[in-house]
Amino acid sequence: MSGLLADANAPGYAPDRQAQENSTTVERSGMSHNNRLDVERIRMDFPILGREIRPGVPLVYLDSTATSQKPIAVLQAMDNHYRRTNANIHRGIHTLAEESTALYEEARKKIAAFINAPSARQIIYTRNTTESINLVANSWGRNFLRNGDTILLTEMEHHSNLVPWQMLAAEKNLQLEFIPVTSNGLLDLEAYEDLLKLQPRLVAFAHMSNVLGTINPAREMIRLAHDIGAITLVDGAQSVPHFSVDVQDLDVDFLAFSGHKMCGPTGIGILYGKRELLDAMPPFIGGGDMIKRVYLRSFVPNEIPYKFEAGTPAIAEVIGLGAAIDYLSQVGMDQIAEHEHQIIDYALERLEEIPGVEVFGPPSIHKGGVASFTLKGVHPHDVSQILDKDGVAIRAGHHCAMPLHEKFNLPATARASFYLYSTFTEVDLLVNAIYKVKTIFRV
């Protein structure tokens, strides 16, 4: 099937001249000679970054941790699909169905290669990270965990890696335990080793915190978990988009992540799993495509990955995610990580010199491009609202991590987050806008 259809980004495939020009933009993007990101060139690939929020006020988008912006290559791949190849996948014998299926399955191979999965069959399409984790909880957890078993999580989890386990624990009478977060925003690894003595059956944790920006030592944590025979799940929502993640090097059992935080569209997420686990797991949602054979009173499930993909999936979104992965690979994940590291270094330095600003989380060496902060005397909502006047888009709230905020005794924080298209100038604009907040609130 593959080879029937050229890559949607390839010249000649574009429906019109404008799109062809756009696709060459993609080929040009990426690295300059000194092996650093040419951010100005990258920014040209993201149409929304050229937008003004109000006349004369350009967008300063510092909310990529919530969702990233999308390059032309992704918009174009989805547009091309709907203009030229749209048909339902699998089973169709006509040309469009074959082309559509080829694009859909080609994306699976790209995603597998991106995280170094042994096989594309271990890449399961879901809606998002949350659904991926729910899939594991409902299929693996419900069938392989027993009354009284322990699940080990951390205090820095996003709600999506907390609530599915709480629901399962209530249903199956499981114990939930939590690796504590230290005052400087790191996981307490000594406490982790002690908690492993409880013989948890599952250890599930965020690779990178969406609030503190902490990058957890996943490889070491997984090794320790495997030593006591536990299964591991890594929430990669914030890691896979921002640095190179290799599932075989990590030796992780399950990895969940979302397309929309890595330059892809919303509505498509990924679950990677080890082959023997996925094979042993029963289906999660029943319907078409997940079956091999259906009788009136029973069915035989399909093989992986289709066993977990019931119903018509988000075809255009899968194709868009494939294009996003091509784009990120062309730019280079190591270069993206290095760029974000330089930006967060600078952002922390600038933010910490503002009187009244307190930044949460570890020093930049342990962290990705996330700066959560408070400004004394001003609620984060008000900070965000005033920043918006200057076109500066940040997030304010508990960022779907209420227990973590309670731990630090904070109702909410303001969060600026960075990606491959973020600039040092944008950090300066953020800082200038925070000074305006101080003026308005007289603090």
């Binding site: 609620h379 909502h381 008000d382 609202q385 006047k389 304010a396 007289r442």
Partner: protein, 131 residues
Amino acid sequence: MDDFYRELIIDRYKNPQYRGHLDPADITFEDDNPLCGDHIRVDLRVDPQGMINEVAFDGHGCAISQASADLLMESIYGKSLEEVKQLTKEDILEMLGIELGPVRLKCALLSLKVLKAGVYGLGEASDDLVE
């Protein structure tokens, strides 16, 4: 937009007139805005004729939520419970004197929601109270 943070709102946020607790109170109710964690508690004392003769609020949150609570307390002082039941979203917006988008509207209306849930004696505060 430019007068979003009018002096009135900043002043009431920084120097609220009605922040505190009443103990005992005839009506007490509190609730959160789950989206942002803003919290408001309202205490009322009511005379035998059903007139509100003492008011207090407490809580934490953004300037909009806290200033609107303070202004709301001022506006219901001396009013009857029946009059409180008639208050609407528009009354709050008029009091604040600003236009609000859908996200910030929830901040502004939290205190009214809490107040009405308390006055109606409901178990929980519903958005229906301020629609």
